[in-house]
Amino acid sequence: MSNLLRQMFDKARIENRAALIGYLPAGFPNQGDSIKIIKNMVAGGVDAIEVGFPYSDPVMDGPVIQAASEQAIKNGAGVKQVFELLQATAQLDVPAMVMSYWSPIEKYGCANFAQMVSKMGGSGVITPDLTLEESSDWRQESQKNSIDNIYVVAPSTTDERLKKVCENCSGFVYAASLMGVTGARDAVSGNAKSLVERIRKITTTPVAVGLGVSNKGQAKEVAQYADGVIVGSAFIKIIQEHGSGRKGLKQIKQLANALSEGVRDAR
């Protein structure tokens, strides 16, 4: 596991809480403002950042991230902006990761991509549509460059398969809380807890839960059983509604604060 991610989960464990992980697509709403948003997320208590690689065909994403990705691409976001933002985030002394669909990574070349993530100070890469079967090269390159390769598992993943995926996952296991796409939900799916319990039986690697967590209450609920809570769409929605000026940034920090209280109140 990368040192920074290990330290983060260790620290959270000592403090008897879950870690809080935030997501933002690179170049959203534009490259200059995305780092401001991330700074406010971190200032508000977010422990680690996933920098999203905006992609033209995001089949795992709901309307909020779809719109954000489209806007980012329109404003020129691409691999350069992803690495730039990754580096700027890593310089904030939090674990910085890339979350990317496989197409952009394959296009860049998987060895080159892993090298660049490492060079920019990144801790790992989350690949939501890279199956275990297609990823032997990627695992090799991640290891070679000492970055974590993080898979997403789902409630429908069988125990047999869960074991194989978790054995090959490093940093943390990303547990999708529900069968569906990203975006805020009224309630956290009941499937999340049982999925985390199934993963616990297999591995000691930390488990972070994502999809559908958007407020303090939900963060608190998930933090009762998971090592990490991942929030994306809720941050993006603030910018979509209030812009990335002072008002929006203030609300980003407030949400980060509230979520951070949530992951601390849980246990």
């Binding site: 992609y55 033209s56 065909d57 995001p58 089949v59 795992m60 709901g62 779809q66 489209e70 691409i73 691409g78 691999v79 496989w102 197409s103 952009p104 990574i105 394959e106 296009k107 860049y108 070349g109 998987c110 060895a111 080159n112 939501p128 549509d129 890279l130 199956t131 079967e133 297609e134 032997s136 090269d137 898979y151 997403v152 598992v153 789902a154 409630p155 429908s156 993943t157 069988t158 398969r161 995926v165 999708a176 069968m179 569906g180 796409v181």
Partner: protein
């Protein structure tokens, strides 16, 4: 290129690959459903009862075997080559799409699912899916790019009449690729109750193999028919290629017959050199799209580039992985046909044979004009006449500037 290295290192023990192409690039949430589908397909292929039921549907519902028509007047424009049309346009619902749809609808029943979703470009696959859903009493939701709902309004009405819900997709380029994205999102959410009835030989394993298996009947019949009519194998087999299901259907039974040239005609839009086309193999590069590795139209960041074609059914920036493989090993050739070439051939078939083809199919006909002249008089060309052009009457009328009243 970096991705080429990746291709060499492919694990050959994996299923669902065609050389370096194919595979599964999908969220983990879908793996269980894809495994279930693979298993259902494999057991159905080996089950005589399933095969008999499908054969009966082909015969008494679709109207198979589809006939083979020699186009003697059209042949005069194709260097005198003998041109044989495999008449998939005469199938119930008007295209080859029904072959795959009936097979997958039976599989849906076999898996105990009650709801199907489908994507559609020209609307032919959507209509076929809605038809099968009505026949089997399944709920049916069809995703269709908003731009396509406008250029294929007749098919939207047909789907609705058949009881399906048509969802216009307003994201991205508002065409087939975005309809597939939306269908995938629905599937991830409702996978326990829903089968994604994908209409072409693309997508994650097992779709490319399964859809091919259901479309092979075109080539199996055509091979027998052409041999009985001419006493020999054809010199070339032609089909239009969007995702590639009608092409693989007619190509596949001829793959071992090395003397037979297999030629796919891709949509060239305004011309390859303009960048405004849908010629994925002729003008694209290997990459990953919609769960599979194949040729893709994409930029240097791996972002999909919008395709362009007068034909909604070919307007797709990807192509089935088996075509990518057949191209790379040199077993099949792929050429690009512009909108104008296709529309010329469209008009020619209307006036020389009294058959209005789908604009998709017209690309294959345009290819025959070229290839017939190359192969010369009395050579034998088999064309998959994949669909009829009723749905395209308005587009064609506009193209040719026919008065609307």
């Amino acid at each position: 290129m970096a991705s080429d290295k990746k291709l060499e290192n492919l694990d050959p023990t994996l299923v669902g690959h065609f050389g370096p192409y194919g595979g599964r690039f999908v969220p983990e949430a879908l793996i269980a459903a894809l495994d279930e589908l693979s298993a259902a397909h494999a057991s159905a292929q080996a089950d005589p009862k399933f095969q008999a039921e499908l054969a009966e549907l082909h015969k008494s519902y679709t109207g198979r075997p589809s006939i083979l028509t020699e186009a003697t007047r059209f042949s005069e424009y194709a260097g005198g080559a003998r041109i044989f049309l495999k008449r998939e346009d005469l199938n119930h619902t008007g295209s080859h799409k029904i072959n795959n749809v009936l097979g997958q609808a039976l599989l849906t029943k076999r898996m105990g699912k009650k709801r199907i979703i489908a994507e559609t470009g020209a609307g032919q696959h959507g209509v076929a899916s809605a038809t099968a859903a009505a026949l089997f009493g399944l709920e049916c939701v069809v995703y269709m790019g908003e731009a396509d709902t406008k250029r294929q309004a007749l098919n939207v009405a047909r789907m609705k009449l058949l009881g399906a819900t048509v969802v216009p997709v307003t994201q991205g380029s508002k065409t087939l690729k975005d309809a597939i994205n939306e269908a995938m999102r629905d599937w991830v959410t409702n996978v326990a109750t829903t089968h994604y009835l994908l209409g072409t030989v693309a997508g994650p394993h097992p779709f490319p193999t399964m859809v091919r298996d259901f479309q092979r009947i075109i080539g199996v019949e055509a091979k027998e028919q052409i041999i009985s009519l001419t006493g020999k194998l054809p010199d070339a087999v032609l089909a239009c290629v969007g995702g590639g299901s009608n092409a693989i259907g007619i190509f596949h039974p001829f793959i071992e017959d090395k003397s037979v040239r297999l030629i796919g005609l891709e949509a060239g839009g305004k011309g390859l050199e303009t960048g405004l086309h849908a010629s994925t193999i002729s003008g694209g590069k290997p990459g990953v799209l919609h769960g599979t590795r194949s040729y893709v139209l994409q930029d240097s960041d791996g972002q999909t580039i919008e395709s362009h074609s007068i034909s909604a059914g070919l307007d797709y920036p990807g192509v089935g992985p088996e075509h990518a493989y057949l191209n790379d090993i040199g077993r099949a050739e792929y050429r690009s046909i512009t909108d104008d070439q296709a529309m010329y051939a469209f008009s020619l078939l209307c006036k020389s044979e009294g058959i209005i083809p789908a604009i998709e199919t017209a690309h294959a006909l345009a290819g025959a004009l070229e290839i017939g002249n190359e192969l010369g008089r009395d050579s034998i060309i088999l064309i998959n006449l994949s669909g009829r052009g009723d749905k395209d009457v308005q587009t064609a009328a506009e193209y040719f500037g026919l008065p609307s009243k």
